[in-house]
């Protein structure tokens, strides 16, 4: 297979940038154009809900590469440029500033926050600009409500507690989720939030919100719940999941379901690949097309696609790896989790002294055949987590039997 001459990448974030860098790692010497609609050069998102929101980092600490470094790598970066359409057959990308022809296109447009129907104007968090706005509002807020029982809801609740705000975390399903682990860690997360003074309301349906500003609290909002109760807060943040950024592809011939449907190598159509949060690669483990919204997944998919474009290499299937920090507790998850099977605590490795810093737990997730398929480190000693990780069975046999 001969390498393409012009690679165009849409979405200038971790997925898109890693494709570009990895193409150069692989010796690709053709043209690389990376375009994205944000005004910034690529930065990492995970610190947004952690160090940036807590006021511990300045925006430049989340930046990944300087303009000079990108230039040296021969990566042409177009910021503030939005892709508006795609002609799959002609291999042309349409943008706000005119068409761009490509030999290979990689789509890495990520997701955007879903808006709550009762609270379309509420703060949410995806970009650096969102984070800086939210940080400013959080500085002034004494009472914060976070709507959303996923991992980002938990992280924002944790950031608000660091600032000593009163925090109400609202969910609908009765449980707290943790990415690919589903709700298997809910009890631990509930205990963690309670120990740090977060009030939880996990079976509450938000139905209305109205401005309730007073002279002492001008930004106050009154939230109304389905059971008739109300609550007044200074700041509401909604984190109820994301939708893949595929609206610009609606009139293309790509198959769009939840994200861009790709085969197990990330190919959406001849000459077109997708990586990261927007991409639903076929997953031989679950036998389905599946999107994974984790930083490591975007990176590993990007490395695999770059290897394939540069010299036809077939990379290994990424294994989900995710981390978070909530109220100072570090949580890592690796592998696959069957929502029907509870986690089991794995024995600690014997050679490690049980010092104060290393008290933590490794949980394992086993499949029907008793094989270890996923592990969670809960403040776990790093060597314990690495040992457990290495024992996870990652071969392509199905996790859950289904029709």
């Amino acid at each position: 297979m001969s390498a393409p001459a012009r690679v165009v990448i849409v979405g200038a974030s971790i997925g898109g940038l890693t494709v570009a860098e990895s193409l150069r790692d692989e010796g690709f010497d053709g043209e690389i154009t990376l375009l994205g609609d944000e005004p910034h050069l690529p930065y990492t998102r995970p610190p947004l809900s952690k160090q940036i929101l807590a006021g511990e980092w300045q925006p430049d600490q989340a930046a990944i590469r300087t303009a000079a470094e990108l230039d040296e790598l021969g990566i042409r970066v177009l910021t503030g440029r939005r892709a508006t359409g795609l002609d799959v057959g002609a291999r042309t990308l349409h943008t706000g500033d005119g068409p761009i022809d490509f030999d290979e296109l990689v789509i890495a447009t990520g997701t955007e926050p879903r808006r709550h129907p009762a609270l379309a104007e509420a703060s949410t968090l995806r970009t650096m600009d969102d984070a800086l706005r939210l940080r400013e509002r959080m500085e002034a807020a004494r009472r914060v409500a976070v709507i959303g029982s996923g991992i980002l809801g938990s992280e924002i609740a944790s950031a608000a507690r660091k600032r000593d705000a009163e925090v109400l975390l609202v969910g609908r399903s009765g449980a707290l989720g943790f990415g690919g682990v589903g709700t298997l860690l809910s009890e631990e997360l509930v205990r963690l939030h309670e120990a740090h003074g977060v009030e939880l309301s996990l079976r509450a349906e938000l139905v209305a919100a109205r401005p309730a500003g007073t002279s002492t609290a001008p930004d106050a909002t009154e939230l109304g719940f389905a059971d008739g109760t109300t609550r007044t807060v200074d700041l509401v943040v909604t984190m109820i999941g994301g939708t893949p950024c595929t609206d610009w592809l609606a009139s293309s011939t790509l198959e769009l379901a939840d994200g861009i449907a790709c085969d197990r190598l990330g190919i959406a159509a001849p000459g077109i690949s997708a990586v990261g949060d927007v991409a639903a690669w076929f997953d031989p483990i679950t036998g389905r097309h599946r999107r994974v919204e984790h930083q490591s997944n975007a990176i590993e998919q990007a490395i695999a696609v770059a290897g394939r474009l540069a010299h036809g290499a077939e990379g290994a299937q990424p294994v989900p790896l995710f981390w978070s920090e909530i109220h100072g507790t570090r949580i890592h998850a690796y592998g696959w989790f069957d929502p029907e099977r509870p986690l089991a605590e794995l024995p600690k490795s014997a050679e490690l002294p049980n010092t104060a810093e290393s008290v933590g737990t490794v949980f394992g997730s086993h499949d029907g055949a008793g094989e270890l398929r996923g592990v969670v480190g809960w403040n776990a000693p790093p060597r314990d987590f690495r040992t457990a990780r290495a024992a996870v069975v990652t071969s392509a046999h199905p996790l859950v039997a289904h029709s």
């Binding site: 890693t18 860098e21 990895s22 610190p47 930083q295 490395i303 890592h332 000693p381 790093p382």
Partner: protein
């Protein structure tokens, strides 16, 4: 080539120590420890892979 680590960005994911165990380790809190700032040969290749895989972009290769 030398390796630079930015410990305040490290999230303890351990990708580095897993793919380049002769170059990186982790302390008791999971934070990256640089064992070999100037790796050669196969270690350099492994370290380059670790730089790319680190989900926090906490390690970098420097040519200076």
């Amino acid at each position: 080539m030398s390796i630079l680590v930015q410990t305040d960005a490290c999230v303890g994911a351990g990708q580095c120590a897993l793919v380049a165990p002769d170059v990186f380790d982790q302390d008791d809190n999971g934070i990256v420890l640089l064992l070999e700032p100037d790796p050669q040969g196969a270690d350099l290749a492994a370290a380059t892979r670790a730089v790319r895989l680190c989900p926090a972009r906490a390690i970098a290769l420097s040519t200076t």
